[in-house]
Amino acid sequence: MPSLLSKRHKVEDLDAVEFCFQQGWTDGLPVIPPTEDRVVAMLKAAGLEPNDHVGAIENRAVAVTAEKVALNAVMAGCRPEYMKVVVAAVQAICDPAWGYHGPGTSTGGAAVLMIVNGPVVRELDINSGDNLFGPGWRANATIGRALRLVMRNVAGSKPGLLDRGTLGHPGKLSYVIGENEVTSPWTPLHVERGFRKEQSTVTILAADAPHQFYNQLSNTAEGILTTCADDMRISGNVMGQPQYVLILAGEHMRTIAADGWTKAEIRKFVFEHTHNSHEHLKRTHRMAGAIQPGDDTRMRPLVAAPEDILVVAAGGEAGAFSAYIPGWASKRSSQAITKVVK
């Protein structure tokens, strides 16, 4: 392997972890010091050379090399075998349709939600079950952290400087889930998006925090999704029509599937039941202008089309809860992107 190209720092009088803090390289938590042997192991595991081009963010005038991705993956605490997933995620944030300069900087405070599909979920023990968004799984905690460190250290999205999120949310530390393809009765997300079941993929969405909804009463698909739509109808950037992710966890998944509903039918139902009247949007100061005759029956859908609701089976087997996640801003500004894990 050719030698690494990054600038080197001799650290003698200071703890290496403390040195990383002082350099402004961390997200506020301690990092693994990026030494040459660790970075080389990361590159080798993904079959990459240091200077391999991973992606470019045109509006930031930044090119991302494999070496910089590996360095930040080391610091995040990734095992070398996670590197290929981090690389796919970096390629996704470089996609012009994701529009880095928006979600990478915006006051809207988006995190990068990452949904992993395919065999790599089991191979790397990426959690798709209990405590889906919580702590406890190294892959979930470190893969998303690595991506965020790349955004900070390579693309310049430093909180308070270029990253000006007014509130942000905890998902900005790491926001990685797997889809539960083992007990899910439905077509996996990546297959719906045109990939083969045996391929592994990463789908990213610039996203708000998850909103958990409760339905511990209903034993029908329609009942659960009526609750979901009622919770979801006024959420996120209501007027922006972003994309959404709908996470259906074990109990709800089984109830909805028992009624024979497919993901397409779920999307259609939720789409049709999340319209808002112009009267309501104007009265609640979300839509500009005075209320006009007929505004109570003039409807605006929450998302532009049913396909803008990405349905994912994930979460614990027990508990009558699921969640929806509003995308950041609008689909016009940023779209979900899927890349293959190679």
């Binding site: 600038k7 080197r8 720092h9 003698e12 040195f19 005038a61 529009g99």
Partner: protein, 92 residues
């Protein structure tokens, strides 16, 4: 211990500003709107003031695709060909 630097060293970019005109009289002004709510209304008012109080010959509002991207090539081409000045504004 020797650590590798995870950041990129950005090459310094020198940007030359176009010389400011001595007068706005008779100039053509491009107003670049970023799609944020009310930014078009604000720029239209600015255009009217420039015309009424500073003798600007004409103004036109150009709309970006969205707030997170630079002005696209068609805007840049038309502004270069037909306008003397640019006002880029945000509404937020």
């Amino acid at each position: 211990m020797e650590l590798l630097d995870p950041t990129v060293e950005q090459p310094a970019q020198a940007i030359d500003f176009a010389p400011r005109p001595k007068s706005l009289s008779g100039k053509r002004v491009a107003l670049i709107e970023n799609t944020k709510y009310n930014s078009d209304r604000l720029l239209e008012k600015i255009g009217d003031i420039l015309k009424r109080e500073h003798g600007v010959a004409e103004w036109k509002v150009f709309h970006k695709h969205n707030a997170g991207v630079p002005a696209h090539q068609e805007i840049i081409d038309e502004v270069k060909a037909s306008y003397d000045l640019v006002v880029a504004g945000i509404g937020d």
